[in-house]
């Protein structure tokens, strides 16, 4: 028999889910599409980004969306040496919590730093927007180090 004894074939499992996002996440994603980063004002005045619908301490409904700059600070990070298909970048990058300037919480995203040596907690980063934006977290292609600062 010329063919291999053991059969093997690709097997793809895919669930084409979609979901509604609600008013607050919808506003955040609309902001991304328009090139803006939004947070939400918490009951104690803190700004939560990405925004949540209910205050994490008091459970109050949160409604005041706040326009934030597209810059922030890395608060913690982990290097991804072998990116997998579907991840934000196709070359090694850092997963990082980025505290957007003016916000009090972290946003999980990728930082295109080139090397783990270029990463550090406290480093300033800025949003690199995707060329085509559609109202998705991937409208932020990634974050990148702010030139001239370290």
């Amino acid at each position: 028999m010329s063919e291999a004894r053991i059969l093997s074939a690709p097997l793809v499992l895919e669930y084409p889910f979609s979901r509604t996002v609600g008013a607050v996440q919808g506003a955040f994603l609309t902001g991304l599409r328009e090139g803006m980063v939004l947070g939400v004002r918490g009951a104690d005045g803190r700004v939560i980004c990405p925004p949540v619908e209910y205050d994490p301490v008091t459970s109050d409904e949160l409604t005041e969306l706040v326009d934030l700059p597209a810059t922030g600070t890395v608060t913690t990070w982990s290097w991804e040496p072998e990116p997998r298909p579907g991840q934000p970048l196709d070359r090694p990058f850092a997963w990082a919590l980025v505290q957007i300037d003016g916000a009090d919480t972290g946003l999980l995203h990728a930082v295109d730093a080139g090397s783990p040596d270029a990463m550090r907690t406290g480093m300033p980063v800025q949003v690199r927007w995707s060329d085509e934006r559609e109202g998705s977290i991937t409208d932020i292609a990634c974050f990148e180090p702010v030139e001239g600062e370290s």
Binding site: L11, G26, T30
Partner: protein
């Protein structure tokens, strides 16, 4: 909907209401020796189970060992391409990528002489007449389309025989 306060720049734009969140897993399925033998049989329109030397049950599709007794299954048993519907499900929800007309029926079919079921479609009978105990036979794809893949069985259709007695398949439900 909650009355939210948006920055001015977003007051007149259309708001995002939903997102697509597909979940995708890319596997490579390697069948193993026993299942490879089974699948090669399927490409020849043959259903090949393997019998456990301890309990005597015929595994289908064979995985090379008996899940109860833990011994290798070494005796191949050819089964007919007809059997009994032991359980089924009426599908009323459209899946993307499926060309099936709704509603349709997925069933577990235990070929005569086998002790495990194959998963398949039941067609050529109105969906609301499909029942446990229904006698069915395989409808194969055209010979030039046969492959070592269970999709080589297009579906199962009623044989017209009287229903199987529940006692005859209760162990397989």
């Amino acid at each position: 909907m909650t009355d939210i306060v948006l920055p001015d720049a977003l007051r007149d734009v259309e708001l995002v209401r939903s997102i697509r969140t597909p979940a995708r897993l890319d596997y490579r399925f390697t069948a193993g020796e026993a299942t490879s033998r089974f699948l090669r049989g399927i490409a020849e329109k043959r259903i090949l189970g393997e019998r456990c030397s301890v309990c005597g049950k015929v595994m289908l599709p064979p995985r090379g060992s008996c899940p109860t007794d833990g011994v290798p299954t070494t005796e191949q048993v050819e089964l007919p391409d007809r059997g009994v519907v032991t359980t089924f499900c009426v599908v009323n929800v459209k899946f993307s990528g499926s060309a099936m007309e709704l509603p349709y029926v997925c069933a577990t079919i235990v070929p005569d002489g086998g002790d495990m079921g194959l998963f398949g479609l039941v067609q050529e009978i109105p969906f609301d007449q499909i029942r446990m105990g229904l006698r069915v036979e395989a409808v194969w794809v055209d010979d030039d389309e046969l492959k070592p893949d269970l999709a080589s069985i297009k579906w199962w259709k009623p044989t017209g025989e009287p229903d199987a007695d529940y006692e005859s398949y209760r162990e397989h439900v």
